[in-house]
Subunit: 245 residues, 2 copies
DNA sequence: ATACTATTGTGTGTTTTTTACACATTGAAA
DNA sequence: TTTCAATGTGTAAAAAACACACAATAGTAT
């Protein structure tokens, strides 16, 4: 990354972006039975959440969409605003190279979480970072500022969302097995569920379609593959699901 | 209201407050079987939600607390941040007297809703308004900007909050009857509930205490008075209620 | 005073949902 | 071919939600 761009960003960012306002994204993925988050690493610095700023004539939602696009390469991401963090001390210890810059002022950050299909993501560092990769949710390293707090709040919101959104639709690949879906729920809820009752409940919602295929390759009996029935899914969502976990 | 204060507010507000950021509060109350919101009327203008701005070194939560205090005279209010509104066109039609002022810029607004005990509130207009009063939730007049949208979103959030918070505790006076509590739930949920099953369910939560007194005055059989048992209430809240409406 | 009315207090049986648990099946590995 | 560990399916018990009936009573009308 050349330093001209970076210098421009420090010096003229306030001509492009609203002051004092930032957007932070908690990007969730699911892979190999693990819930994961996408993190960035500052040049020679700590890890942090992917974030950005709001252009003067851009909606905050669009900012989040843009940031997501830049970090993952994906469009059409499932995105939820979950909380705004407004403590003046939330960036305690902030020290960026250019101390005069707009970027060293206090920021109020609007938090979004995103659900993405792990395999489709192509992680891209941003202008301030040189590394971008997935971390298991229970193994994330120390994060900058209050980003751990933001992540925890995102997870809590995701947990609540489980009550009226079949989040598997956004986190899993098109075809998946019942045990995979269950593991996803167990990770988010941080609890164990009975295999048979879980299956009954999921099928009772009536938005899953069982395929003829089975998932082979793993040891032991091969489980069936399922996929979301888009029509039934849309219909159910419109009527408002009541999952109740 | 003298115009010197107002002029100062227009001219020097940006020295006190963060630019582009506002806070709007949806204040809910309950009286005579009606859910109500507290609204302000602009001088010779439309009605709007009570709002304000964030001081440079103040947390956003504290701004909301301060605004609430100024409008209602109350401390220790139950307050929930529920959404941040960031559309650049959200203040369509904005035209305030001083067109050069910081206040005519785009604002991103952080929404809070508050639950208050109706009888304890002493409504106070703010610097921009000359009237402040309660409106029945289903009779609110046309509101400025996107304030109707904000109110609706607050109501939706309150409805969700019903699932893990006994909101009656914050909206009702210390002593209340079971029918009153039921009417509160029915208004928020916009649905009718069976009297007997409702009572069973509320009592099953185990945070209500039935008093010896009855509420007299109304026609017909006098209902018992109840009150929240603070110890059991705190205990239950810590464990996380699962009400499920 | 008395009867009336609308509302409260309480209980019971039915239906539905949730929970707990057992056994046969099967793909891969030993 | 046997073994292992995980999957597929069903059933009974417990709990929660739902529907509904009848007695009691504070004011109101007569």
């Amino acid at each position: 990354m050349d330093s001209k761009l970076l210098k421009d960003f420090y010096n003229r960012g306030d001509q492009i972006f609203l002051p004092h306002i930032s957007v932070d994204c908690v990007i969730f993925g699911f892979h190999e039975d693990q819930l994961k988050v996408l993190l960035l690493k500052w040049r020679d610095g700590p890890w942090c959440l992917p974030g950005g700023f709001v252009k003067h004539d851009e909606s905050v939602d669009d900012s989040a969409i843009r940031i997501l696009q830049e970090r993952t390469g994906l469009d059409n991401i499932y995105l939820q605003q979950f909380h705004t963090f407004g403590d003046p001390k939330r960036e305690k210890g902030k020290k960026l190279p250019d101390t005069k810059s707009w970027i060293n002022k206090r920021f109020i950050s609007i938090g979004y979480y995103a659900l993405v299909e792990f395999s489709k993501v192509n992680p891209q560092p941003d202008i301030l970072s040189n590394e971008c990769r997935w971390w298991d949710i229970d193994k994330v390293p120390a994060l900058i500022y209050d980003h751990k707090l933001i992540m925890d709040k995102a997870l809590e919101s995701l947990r609540l969302d489980l009550n009226d959104h079949p989040v598997g639709y956004n986190l899993l690949p098109e075809k998946f097995t019942m045990p995979e879906l269950q593991r996803l729920y167990e990770t988010i809820l941080d609890d164990e569920l009975d295999r048979r009752n879980f299956q009954k409940r999921m099928l009772a919602i009536g938005i899953l379609e069982r395929l003829k295929e089975r998932k082979t390759g793993g040891a032991h009996k091969a489980p069936f593959l399922y996929r979301f029935d888009k029509k039934k899914y849309a219909r159910a969502l419109k009527q408002g699901l009541k999952l109740g976990w």
